[in-house]
Symmetry: C2
């Protein structure tokens, strides 16, 4: 990919002398920053912007390894052929008019893809805004040259955008407002060849990139995306446009991309340690924060000291922190004593530290510095949130010095800045250089700090068990023969036999066909019992009066079995089960997602399951830590941890069930779906009480 990022010479095919046209803007932008040779290509000109213009790519002299194409769509195939002949390594196709415009454009896109496959030339785009690299001052883009007026602020955050806007209009907004410095911005357009994974792999290895943000409307290969993310410690943030049903409808009409189902994608992102954002500025603000604090925190802490010049902002910060799983640090005596030296006598210091009275007594810089030193020395402080004001009130703070203090203590520092417009802008720009993430709203600052201190951390290590081992074992288990020999839905009894063989704890049960057999089973099991009628083709037993719960006597058993035999009219058989007692009902399952392949689900069950919508997904095969992390993403997590009278759930046992569901799905391609509903927690242990395995209709 080096020829895209560090080309040794660039041909601009479709260059023009007409100002304000894309083919002119590209040349202008290259001239402003790119130090290598630029070769305008257009048979109609001798010279463009003072550079000699060539009639065709074939005429361009050495060195040249990249072409930027901005010609009418129908001319693109010819251009690619010419470039391949000229031994150019890659083409950025910035022209539009391909798959985003309908069937004709899609056919054209297919045609150039074939040329690329045949010749080995790499294609970036089409329908894209190319690349901006602020450090190298490369603007390989039709973006308005006004972008140079923003200062093209350098930073260590790189972006990959499936949207031209983010690599053009929004980039100008970002940089002109002093919001964030930029390393590289890659606009991938229709990502026909070079896709987010190619660029992600490049940026993971790029020393000028500390954090990577992506706006994606579709994943070319989400599993590869996950694997790349899991293999690096470099923070990655994704804004997945079209996650909701409505958003997805919009995505379909906008680009040639399909959106993966939102909740499954969220599970996949969390599993890979990727941070999710919901808006453009949230994406870049998360990236800014992570770019400044890219290391995985050494210690797992969420206790924050708040330094403020106004009590109200301290209080509101604390309120918002509570919603983002951040705690107010309890400052220790040494810290409080140190703070008291800059506080008036009548005011005992506390956290949030309201420094205003101290500022009146001692001036702002002394008070800010002293407070910062005090809280940074406190072992009960994991991070510091400081409020600054720019413009009057004698509130100047020495952010550089505060940043040094915090850095020395190894504690992340974030800052809320407000004040007079120009002073705020200067403060933001200077904070960029100092390396402190600065925000215009308390809410966003707390949101970013919450993300930083609570983000899911996943890192592949060699110590993890080989997930294929259990898959191999399941594949070779002859007792699971049914999974290759049958098709369609297996009945409850067979389904649970399968789960049992896999190692999932299932309720004690036996299949009977007469009252005599039922009595024998009951004698062995003891009461209370459940009797269920299994009738081929009937999947909703409760609605069909085929379930009798709470059988506590021989008489009740007789009543139940007799009634079932009548209802069933000679079809099917009866399941006699031990009744499982438990307050918590969960559901667990396996699905084969069209995009992500085998996936595992876990959620709150019972009557509230769907109404309260508490479900999480993971991508199989899972490791046990993956599975436990999945469980920890449930909203009802506190119930599972022994909240108010609930027995704490054995999370490892529950996690092993999820791992196994994924593994059996991976071992047997015929499995379309597995449902365990309910999965009841009895004395802290999960037990599958009902189960359903669905095999594909084309399963052998």
């Amino acid at each position: 990919m080096e020829f895209f990022f560090k080309p040794e010479g660039i041909a601009v095919v479709g260059a023009t002398a007409s100002k304000e046209k894309g083919g002119n803007i590209i040349v202008t932008n290259l001239k402003k920053g790119y130090s290598g040779q630029v070769y305008p290509v257009n048979p109609g000109y001798k010279e463009i912007e003072g550079l000699p213009c060539y009639p065709s790519v074939a005429d361009v002299p050495d060195p040249v390894d990249l072409a930027i194409a901005f010609v009418a769509a129908h001319m693109v195939p010819g251009v690619i052929e010419d470039c391949a002949k000229r031994n150019i390594s890659g083409v950025m196709i910035q022209s539009a008019g391909f798959s985003e415009t309908g069937p004709k454009g899609t056919a054209l896109q297919q045609e150039i893809k074939q040329i690329a496959e045949k010749t080995g030339i790499r294609l970036w785009g089409p329908n894209c805004m190319g690349l901006v690299d602020a450090n190298q001052r490369f603007v390989f883009s039709t973006v308005t040259p006004a972008i140079w007026d923003t200062g093209l602020t350098c930073g260590n955050v790189s972006l990959i955008a499936q949207s031209g806007m983010l690599a053009g209009a929004f980039l100008i907004d970002l940089m002109s407002h002093g919001t964030m410095g930029i390393s590289k911005v890659c606009s991938i357009g229709n990502k026909m060849d070079v896709d987010e994974n190619d660029l992600l792999a490049y940026l993971i290895d790029d020393p000028k990139t500390a954090a990577i943000g992506l706006y994606l409307e579709s994943f070319t290969d989400c599993r590869r995306f996950m694997a790349l993310s899991r293999r690096t410690t470099k923070p990655i943030v994704v804004l997945n446009g079209g996650k909701t049903a409505r958003g997805a409808a919009a995505a379909l009409s906008h680009t040639a991309s399909l959106s993966a189902s939102g909740v499954i994608v969220s599970g996949a992102m969390a599993q890979a340690g990727i941070v999710e954002a919901n808006g453009f500025y949230q994406l870049t603000d998360y990236c800014k924060t992570l770019g400044m604090y890219p290391e995985i925190p050494a210690k797992d802490g969420n206790r924050v000291a708040v330094l403020t010049y106004t009590g109200a902002a301290g209080i509101v910060s604390a309120d918002i922190m509570a919603r983002h799983n951040l705690e107010l640090s309890e400052l220790n005596t040494a810290t409080l004593d140190a703070l008291q030296t800059v506080f008036p006598e009548w005011m005992p210091p506390a956290n949030p530290v309201d420094m205003w009275p101290g500022i009146i007594l001692n001036g702002s810089k002394k008070t800010y510095n002293k407070a910062m030193e005090a809280v940074c020395a406190d072992p009960g402080v994991d991070a510091v949130f400081v409020h600054c004001f720019a413009g009057g009130f004698s509130l100047e703070a020495d952010l550089d010095r505060m940043a040094k203090t915090a850095k020395k203590a190894g504690k992340p520092l974030v800052c809320w800045i407000s004040g007079e417009r120009d002073r705020v802008y200067q403060f933001q720009v200077s904070a960029q250089k100092t390396g402190v993430p600065v925000f215009r709203e308390v809410m966003r600052a707390v949101e970013c700090l919450g993300m930083l201190l609570n983000r899911p951390l996943v890192n592949e290590t060699d110590e993890q068990p080989d997930p294929s081992e259990q898959i191999r074992r399941l594949k070779n288990d002859s007792r699971l023969y049914v999974l290759t020999s049958e098709k369609g839905a297996l009945d409850e009894y067979v389904s649970k036999q399968v789960l049992d063989v896999c190692g999932i704890p299932v309720v004690k049960e036996e299949q009977v066909t007469s009252l005599v057999e039922a009595r024998q089973t009951a004698a062995g099991f003891g009461f209370p019992l459940v009797a269920k009628g299994m009738v081929p083709g009937v999947s909703h037993k409760t609605e069909s009066n085929l379930v009798h719960l709470g059988i506590t006597s021989a008489q009740a058993l007789e009543t139940a079995v007799t009634s079932l035999l009548q209802t069933m009219e000679g079809r099917g058989s009866i399941l006699i089960q031990k009744q499982v007692q438990g307050k918590i009902e969960l559901v667990a399952g396996f699905v084969r997602d069209p995009r992500l392949g085998p996936c595992v689900m876990c959620g709150l069950g019972g009557v509230f399951a769907e109404a309260l919508n508490d479900t999480v997904f993971g991508v199989a095969p899972l490791t046990l830590p993956d599975a436990v992390q999945m469980i920890d993403r449930l909203k009802c997590r506190n119930m599972l941890e022994g909240f108010r009278g609930f027995d704490p759930v054995d999370k490892k046992a529950l996690g092993r069930i999820l791992v196994t569901l994924g593994d059996v799905g991976c071992a047997y391609q015929g499995i379309q779906e597995i449902d365990i509903n309910p999965l009841i927690i009895e004395n802290g242990q999960p037990i599958a009480v009902d189960g359903l395995v669905v095999l594909g209709e084309s399963n052998r």
Copy 2:
């Protein structure tokens, strides 16, 4: 209050010639904008800022009806005495050093309060930043004169702030960034006399105020606050600092105020039609939106058309809308046809309307205007969200014209603006004048639109039943004698008798003391039954093995009753109840809040009640619409409305229970607490299955 807002002459007590001191800044700010007489008072000067200075308030000539005091705290009582003698109507005490500094300051505050009560003089503050009135150009404040450089942008939003920062530093931020125009900003400080209710009442009647925002750390009288809000259609937004436990801790250490419990306050706000905000900018952004669209929408719609220059922002807008209860409008054929006239042939228009291809063909203004006209004419569109860009790309839009189109159609229009910094600022300032709320982030724009279209609307009408009628009836009901004669917790049977007399549906039950009586009751009721042991002093029956559920036969009854009689060892009696069957368990209750008085609670019950934390509060007495609105605030609302197999709940029946709980609590001051847990929904009807009435220990 007129003398505070339109004084005929102002004495500045504690004026000084020393620049940058508060006593000088006040005079400087007055001179810049106030057109009446300004009288500096200080025995040490003959002249301050070119104005004659008076040795004492007594020496100030007419006309004068307001004093601004900025002297050391201990001098304030004398100043108030002097002002009262001089017949000055009100004093704004901007000095600090009162209750916020501890017991000594609290005593001083008490002293000046007594002077005010004795003399009738009104006091604003102390420890406050006074008043800014942008329309009149009044700055009665120690705020830095740099505030004049912001342009002091006029608007129709007024703020009341229990924080000097919001009336000083943040105000400068707000106005210098072109975020919002301002009518009046009142900083109430320790609000010893003039409080948020006095100012709210004034601003409700102020023709220059269209929307009112408040930052409050405490409510002086929350019920009066609610009553004022309910009586006006003027939108009110509250940011209640210290709502969370942690926030409240911060509030206690910051000011002399106590914070009411957050969840009860939220209920009270919703009941009074007040919008709640969580951050400073969110507060002002909500106010800006409501100030521009203050009318209660004629029609209850949440369908939004999105006009964008970039597909990605359309998709992300749709995603965020889904989280804020906003729908994407389904555009009708006429609208789509009209849009097609500015779209290229290959692109069928849809909502979000991605105008970029149209802009390339027809230019931005034509495309924006045409699209705006089309969606405004569509009856399926309730509001429009437009994305604009300032600075390059030929994306200029005619916001004035679009605003006119939307206004004519009676549809709210909100706008996301991004782009080059100075151009964005100009756009924001000009949108202020045009009357379109403009936001820098898609997320905030959608949040404000969601608030606008979904906000709780409450309006007192004469048609509502007199809430005191049922209260009177309950008060006079001799069957409720127990509520005045007993004290402490009533037993389950008596508690439910009370509920029954009040008109709350309770489970069919009888109190028995022997197996014989139990059999007689069972014969009358029929199975299934529940038997519960009531032992004086034992409140947790289940944990004490005093509950037998699911009794379906005479034999089981005998077993249960015999077991209970044994466990109870001759104490208490047995309740025989019809067993109530229902999927949904709720809880309902009554509490007497130290701040808000009698309050009613409703929530999700059963095992998930506390773990999932789905509880809402209302302030009694409730009207039936209040109670139904309360129910609609439950997270489990969809379950109650018949989601996926649940019976829809009779909300009016449930609402009447809540109304009655509040009314009986209002009728009997001795009631401390009522708990109905569970309140089971059987065939859509709520039935109290267990009940507990707790009377005060000092109840007669």
